[in-house]
Symmetry: C3
Subunit: 133 residues, 3 copies
């Protein structure tokens, strides 16, 4: 397994981690298979979507804030219940295809780390599995 750290600087933000994930896959030396990206945290998430226009991530964060407002009343009393809910909705893992040693993404797809309870230092795990020929 490979991995890397992500430093977040805001309470909530989206960070493009595509290049770091690609480096992990190159280091694993997988030519053909699949790649699992997992965060070992419960108040952040991983998504695959557009980041050429960063306003897409802003709209996603704004919508998640409407679904689970940070200042609403929750049973969990640590002040980050909204972040647990958002992590559940977007998910803490992504799986992607690897071919010819390359992570396969659509033209507009990027891998994004979503922080919902920052700022913090986070870890991202990358596990690549080779297809058996």
């Amino acid at each position: 397994m490979k991995g890397f750290s992500v430093d977040t600087f805001e309470k909530q933000q989206a960070i493009d981690i595509t290049v770091q994930v690609e480096s992990c896959i190159a280091a694993e030396g997988i030519e053909d298979g699949i790649c699992l990206i997992q965060v070992p945290h419960t108040t952040c998430g991983i998504i695959v979507n557009e980041h050429f226009d960063a306003s897409v991530s802003k709209d996603i964060l704004d919508c998640l804030d409407r679904i689970a407002p940070p200042d609403a009343t929750y049973s969990h009393k640590e002040g980050n219940a909204h972040a647990h809910i958002k992590s559940t909705l977007v998910g803490s893992t992504q799986m992607l295809v690897i071919e010819d040693g390359q992570l396969m993404l659509g033209t507009w797809q990027r891998i994004l780390f979503f922080e919902f309870d920052g700022p913090r230092q986070r870890r991202v795990w990358v596990k690549a599995l080779e297809h058996r020929r």
Copy 2:
């Protein structure tokens, strides 16, 4: 990797792609393992749920419209911000078990392509990985 195209005819709709995914797995010749279904797009998604009664998909689309109304005001100015949000919430990949050369699904489970910004021609990628015996 195998794949196929999906032509969507409406702005938003659900299309059962189970048969096409099964054909890809048969063509890959995987007897035992897992299957990754990935769309290389940022305004559609893949889900696994009931489709015997198509009204289930209608309820899902209606609920997503309440979460992210197409005509609300967003930062992303291309008119499809709602579709990026929906894609993020339902996800652009699914992983399923393969056994005895068969895609393993529950009685009521079907693989559904969800279009949120159609009509368009879309691609679906299918990558199957063999279990190492």
Copy 3:
């Protein structure tokens, strides 16, 4: 593929299934790879989040009830349309890393079965894939 049953006792509830999933991985004898957890049902889900404080799951269920109220009007007339929507939003599968024969989870991460249309007896499938060295 390994698997186990989960008996749910309430209409909606979260049940920690981490120990059962770990037993399946041990039984598969996978040292290094990935693990797919899949429910063959359309009105429940699998998530990875905190369960040390059970109020986190309560907040997640409450938020999902606001998104898709059980008593709202839906097209699907079986009374469980809200459960299909929740299953779609949280997902019916999870993928996790396996290393040194251990399921890799963060400090606060647990694997949770979410029932949205209980009480019922449910099945959980666990498929582990070995990394090719």
